[in-house]
Point group: C2
Chain length 160, copies 2
């Protein structure tokens, strides 16, 4: 599980670096699909990851107001703050947590029941999906996207 | 591991269904980013998944020629054929395979060494990334994309 989160954090950090070379207008420009902009995508990824991990722990998970995070620096700050809270939980993940139930309030006023393992994979897939969207926008801008490769990052060392 | 592959196969099948309502020209239309078209994306996802699984097993993995798969029906046929070979391997996955080394020839004529666990996650992330690209193209076409949610699909049952 930790390898997946480390993968997402590495790729996310590489995208932040990729963004450093872009003018601010490109970061907030309205685009088709996804969250509608590069900057909002990063905000959304960090926010959703943190909120679910907070929920699993029974901690408050009020979503942050995007209006307060209108620069790359501000979003990166939020991300650093969130990651410091998410990382210890991920590091302590163990097999026995996979099927632990999580009760999540739904729009009908009932609760959906998910396993913790499902929620963790939902967080992981959520980020990879949004990063895929960025890769299309990158080509529209005319800049090669960051690699999405899982291999080659030394995330799970082979026994040799 | 199996839950991840089942997730990808469910989402992929939902996208095939989504495509049924589109005229053929939309499937092969050149688009920005990714593999360049909806149809080629599905071909590429199925092909890459199968090739890696073949490689891990030391079986031949010659990539198919996309020119031979120019309709949704043909790609779905190929996918069914590949999936029948991939599924048994995925079902028999176990923890001890995670760090088993895989030697993969690289462009420099050497071999990169990856763990099997890395390769499996590479296959999984590869599909989710490309599906993210489809979601942008879907909005360009004006059709809501298939949900990328991992939760709500009953993939890992909670212990209740």
């Amino acid at each position: 599980m930790e390898a997946w989160f480390r993968y997402n954090w590495m790729v996310r950090d590489q995208w932040y670096q990729w963004c450093e070379e872009l003018p601010h207008e490109e970061l907030i420009r309205q685009r088709t699909g996804g969250t509608g902009s590069l900057l909002k995508t990063f905000f959304h990824i960090a926010d959703v990851e943190w909120s679910w991990i907070q929920q699993l722990q029974g901690k408050p998970d009020e979503l942050e107001d995007y209006e307060q995070y209108q620069t790359l620096e501000r979003v990166k700050e939020l991300d650093r703050r969130f990651r410091a809270e998410v990382e210890p939980f991920v590091k302590e993940w163990e097999e026995s947590m996979e099927t632990r139930p999580h009760y999540s309030g739904n729009a009908e006023g009932d609760a959906d029941i998910y396993s913790w393992g499902e929620v963790m994979r939902h967080i992981i897939a959520h980020e990879i999906h949004h990063i895929g969207q960025l890769s299309v926008w990158a080509r529209e801008i005319g800049k090669p996207p960051v690699s999405a490769n899982f291999i080659g990052k030394g995330l799970i060392k082979p026994r040799v």
